[in-house]
């Protein structure tokens, strides 16, 4: 199918701007995630920088038309390198009254509101709690409202496609994409090609989607409602090859890369849980990389299988979210005691308990550090953005293998499902993280499984199948060197200290924390970790534009801290730590460094708005 039937005339007025925030909102059955992703990919292909924020209801299909059933996808596109999905949408697409009600408060004053007017009938209005049609009242005053009879238009557009009945209206999200593609002068080819490829086995569905897409595009051209379109030029990013990647995908690819760089087969034991399941899905596709995925019967079996796989000589990984990590806690302690290399992924979500599974939060930091019985410190490392998850996976594997220890890798819902352009690394430049297995006896008295390396304090990794190195691991305290069971008081002290020292010592083997402080004289340090990176970075920029002297440091390693962190903190009079929790990093920083760090803490199930951080920073600076 070609695009010649698209009228390619220039719109009458084209406004050039540097960035825009677009939010698609509709019922969870309306295909809003697809709409957002298609629009995003078209923008990526066009060369814009971008950042996305999908938002799902927890229910797969809440009753149609209701407020809990609303799903949305926000993307910011820009001609410069942006860092967040934006604070407030410039354009909101609302597919029904419930979507309007849930999202209208966020729309920027003067912004564009595109509504599916067909959905604004009595029943849907009542389901959304409206006693009148908001499109006819004051609620939408101050916005540029474009009412589009999307259902009628879709029905008309797809009548020759071969789809019929209830399936007809499934294409209305493509009508919306088409209209937005016109409005923002996006290329049409990526969306058409995607639809044709995705539905190759159901050509009638492909045809209907393409027809609806074109109808939406053409509606833009012909509608009297607006003649103004928006142009956002490609961003001037560093030169290289880019792809648009979500955090869960980057994390999965990072694990595949880590196994390659470690020269080990990858084993992933997991149990389905939102929002970590996509890592299991992605890895299960890549069996030709020697990847073994195991969907275990429960979270405990998932970590247990990974412990077995680690003992057997794999790069062993288990992944989950907060509730599942809680179940794995005893197993992680076993891996710690056995001193086996194991990666534990925690794709955090809002808690406690089932909490808000589809919403981001950073509230498992202290749990990652301390959520085990006994003295069991572990390295903890956090991804800062979707693409960063790739590198962080390799770094976590490096530490686990080199130091023979479980490592916890923190991501969250925002990173996992959000996406950003990623300049692809040169595969040949990835670090070699391989560690040789023990192959021969390491003492005159035979193999000593707890004989430590003098530098790393790690013990040798002897895998089953190696003649002469037969040994037994286990949860009971081990005698130093021999690994025999020991209840000796001094030995327990020594082993506890050795295990702790091994982890503390890692602080000298990780990159120092970098401080972004151009003149080195900031009045305030913004310190963060994890997915707040984009918000804090954007706030830092805004504050500097406002003439404020602020510095930003972001921690990848949260346990142990980089060796230079104390010196960095000591250089600033004011320290602000924004976190999507009630102050967990702040507690650690205050406890470890005795500095009067302040917190900006919010647990609303959404990332920080840049303005929330700038306002708090300004208040601190002016105090």
């Amino acid at each position: 199918m070609a695009t010649e039937d698209l009228v390619t005339q220039e719109s009458d007025q084209k406004t050039e701007i540097d960035r825009a925030v677009i939010r698609f909102a509709g019922d969870s059955g309306d295909g809003m995630q697809v709409a957002g992703t298609r629009f995003t990919d078209a923008s990526a292909a066009f060369g814009n920088d971008l950042a996305t924020l999908p938002s799902f209801p927890a229910e797969i299909r809440a009753p149609a038309g209701t407020l809990p059933g609303v799903s949305s996808f926000q993307v910011q596109i820009a001609d410069f390198d942006i860092l967040t999905a934006g604070d407030e949408p410039d354009t909101l697409v609302a597919m029904n009254p419930a979507a309007l009600r849930n999202n209208l408060d966020d729309l920027k004053r003067g912004g564009t509101l595109i509504v599916n007017s067909d959905a604004f009938e009595e029943r849907n209005l009542a389901k959304a709690g409206y006693d009148h049609n908001p499109l006819e009242g004051d609620a939408v005053k101050g916005f540029r409202v474009i009412e589009v009879p999307m259902e009628q238009l879709t029905k008309g557009a797809v009548k020759d496609s071969g789809v019929s009945g209830r399936d007809v209206l499934r294409s209305k999200n493509f009508l919306a994409i088409g209209l937005l593609t016109w409005l923002y002068n996006r290329p049409t080819e990526p969306t058409i090609e995607w639809a044709e490829k995705k539905f190759a086995t159901r050509p009638e569905v492909a045809a209907a989607n393409v027809m609806a897409f074109k109808a939406g595009y053409n509606f833009g051209i012909t509608t009297e409602a607006t003649k103004t379109t928006v142009e956002i030029r490609p961003a001037t990013l560093p030169s290289g090859t880019y792809t648009n990647v979500t955090g869960n995908t980057a994390l999965s690819w990072g694990l595949v890369a880590a196994a390659r760089q470690a020269k080990l087969p990858l084993f992933y034991g997991s149990y389905p849980i939102t929002p970590a399941s996509d890592v299991l899905h992605e890895l299960s596709k890549h069996k030709n990389f020697g990847v073994t995925t195991f969907q275990a019967e429960d979270e405990i079996a998932a970590v247990g299988s990974a412990i077995g796989a680690a003992f057997a000589g794999n790069l062993a990984v288990t992944g989950s979210s907060g509730p599942g990590i809680a179940l794995k806690s005893e197993g992680i302690s076993l891996a710690f005691q056995a001193e086996l290399p194991l990666l534990i992924l925690n794709v955090q979500r809002a808690g406690p308990s089932t909490g808000m599974p589809t919403k981001p939060e950073q509230s498992d930091l202290l749990f990652a550090l301390f959520g085990r019985h006994g003295e069991s410190p572990l390295p903890v490392i956090a991804a800062a953005s979707p693409s960063d998850a790739f590198e962080v996976a390799i770094e976590a594997a490096r530490l686990a293998l080199k130091y023979m220890t479980p490592v916890i890798l923190l991501s969250d819902n925002h990173i996992a499902n959000g996406s950003e352009p990623w300049m692809l690394p040169d595969i040949d430049e990835l670090p070699d993280i391989s560690v040789p297995f023990a192959t021969k006896e390491n003492s005159d008295h035979g193999f000593m499984p707890y004989m430590r390396d003098i530098e790393t304090f790690s013990r040798p990794w002897a895998i089953p199948g190696t003649p002469g190195l037969e040994h037994r691991l286990g949860g009971l305290e081990k005698e130093a060197i021999t690994g025999n069971v020991s209840y000796d008081p001094e030995n327990h002290q020594l082993m506890t200290d050795s295990r702790a020292w091994k982890v503390v010592n890692i602080s000298h083997d990780i990159a120092p924390v970098e401080v972004d402080d151009p003149d080195g004289d900031g009045d305030l340090l913004l310190l963060g970790w994890g997915s707040t990176y984009g918000s804090i970075r954007a706030a830092t920029r805004d504050l500097r534009k406002d003439g404020r002297k602020v510095a930003h440091a972001h921690l990848r390693h949260v346990n142990p801290f980089p060796a230079n962190l104390g010196a960095v903190l000591g250089a600033y009079e004011r320290i602000l730590i924004p976190e999507l929790n009630t102050g967990q990093l702040r507690k650690l920083i205050r406890a470890d460094f005795l500095v009067d760090a302040k917190g900006l803490n919010r647990v609303a199930g959404v990332p920080f708005k840049t303005s929330e951080i700038t306002e708090t920073a300004i208040a601190m600076l002016e105090r």
Partner: protein, 335 residues
């Protein structure tokens, strides 16, 4: 040393065995060490994984690779080893509390998956390590430290449970009968896939003589129903009792009272587990006539072989993984 030169001593460690004197675990340990010495498998290829409990100390006394893991999770740990290392011979040692209470989930799932490791379930019908609470195989009404008025729980029959999970190899043996135990171990090793071996094991401290009906000189011949593949199921000193199948239920009758053609001929290879299940229901515990031997031995692809086949097929179809291509697989653009 070649594998054929092994003696039991090659499978012993320098660690002092610390079970209570008189514990049935000693006998099983000796049986397993002797069996492995004669197996012809190099020591380094054998892995013994345990959970928590008295029996779980087992790996420390086996000069092979091993892990004393956490309570109930041995099958999970063994899964990760067995799936990724089909070259190894993996054995799980567990107890009635470990396998059937805290670890019940892992047990049934490893059996239904037909994971290729062998599970030795030491059933002493009591919690020994924690000093004498009732277990999931203790008889209802049993008075213990935690049930001074008698246990309210209906017990599991581990063989019935394993058959319900469609385990491909299910057997029962007795700690004291080393010859019988060894025969079962050999058959389990030969079997491709999961094997559950329930070993009645006497805890002489907290539940002594639990199996006296099957071990006592005066009672054993009357109560041991030895299952022999292809043979009619008869027992008693003179074979005077027999098992028949009536409307799907196994029943004990006097041999003389039935037509010999009605006596059940044991068929461990029957794909349908129903008859084996019916046989397992002849006893609710070792309190009277109790079947011993191999209840079921059927062939089904192992989980490991299916997983390996998928990896091989994917690699043949797509070629060895190319990381540079993978990270470009979602479409790229150049700046």
């Amino acid at each position: 040393m070649t594998t054929t030169d092994y003696t039991r001593a090659d499978f012993q460690t320098d660690q002092e065995v610390r079970w209570c004197p008189g514990c049935g675990d000693y006998t099983v340990l000796a049986s397993v060490q002797n069996f492995m010495a004669g197996l012809g498998v190099p020591r380094e290829k054998i892995v013994v994984i345990s959970g928590i409990g008295c029996a779980a100390r087992f790996p420390y006394y086996m000069n092979t690779y091993g892990m004393h893991s956490i309570h109930g999770r041995a099958p999970a740990v063994a899964s990760g080893i067995s799936i990724t290392r089909p070259d190894l011979s993996v054995w799980v040692v567990t107890g009635d509390g470990d396998a059937l209470s805290i670890g019940g989930n892992h047990l049934i799932h490893s059996l239904r998956r037909n994971l290729n490791f062998k599970i030795l379930l030491f059933n002493n019908q009591i919690y020994g390590l924690t000093k004498g609470q009732y277990s999931p195989t203790s008889e209802q009404g049993k008075q213990t430290k935690s049930t001074p008025f008698g246990s309210p729980d209906h017990p599991f029959n581990p063989v019935s449970l394993a058959l319900g999970a469609e385990a491909t190899f299910v057997a029962r043996t007795l700690d004291m009968d080393r010859k019988h135990t060894t025969g079962i171990l050999e058959a389990a090793y030969e079997h491709q896939g999961s094997a559950l071996i329930e070993i009645y094991q006497n805890c002489n401290v907290f539940n002594d003589k639990a199996f006296i009906e099957l071990t006592g000189k005066d009672t054993r011949d009357h109560n041991r129903i030895n299952l022999v593949d292809g043979e009619p199921v008869k027992f008693g000193p003179e074979g005077e009792r027999a098992v028949i199948l009536e409307e799907g239920t196994a029943k004990i009758v006097d041999t003389s009272a039935v037509d010999p053609g009605r006596i059940l001929v044991h068929d461990a290879g029957n794909d349908d587990p129903s008859v084996a299940f019916a046989i397992s229901r002849l006893s609710h515990g070792p309190y009277g006539p109790t079947p011993l031997g191999i209840f079921r031995r059927v062939s089904r692809p192992t989980y490991e072989s299916t997983v390996r086949d998928q990896i091989t097929a994917a690699t043949e179809a797509k070629g060895e993984g190319d990381l540079a291509a993978l990270i470009r697989s979602h479409g790229t653009w150049d700046v």
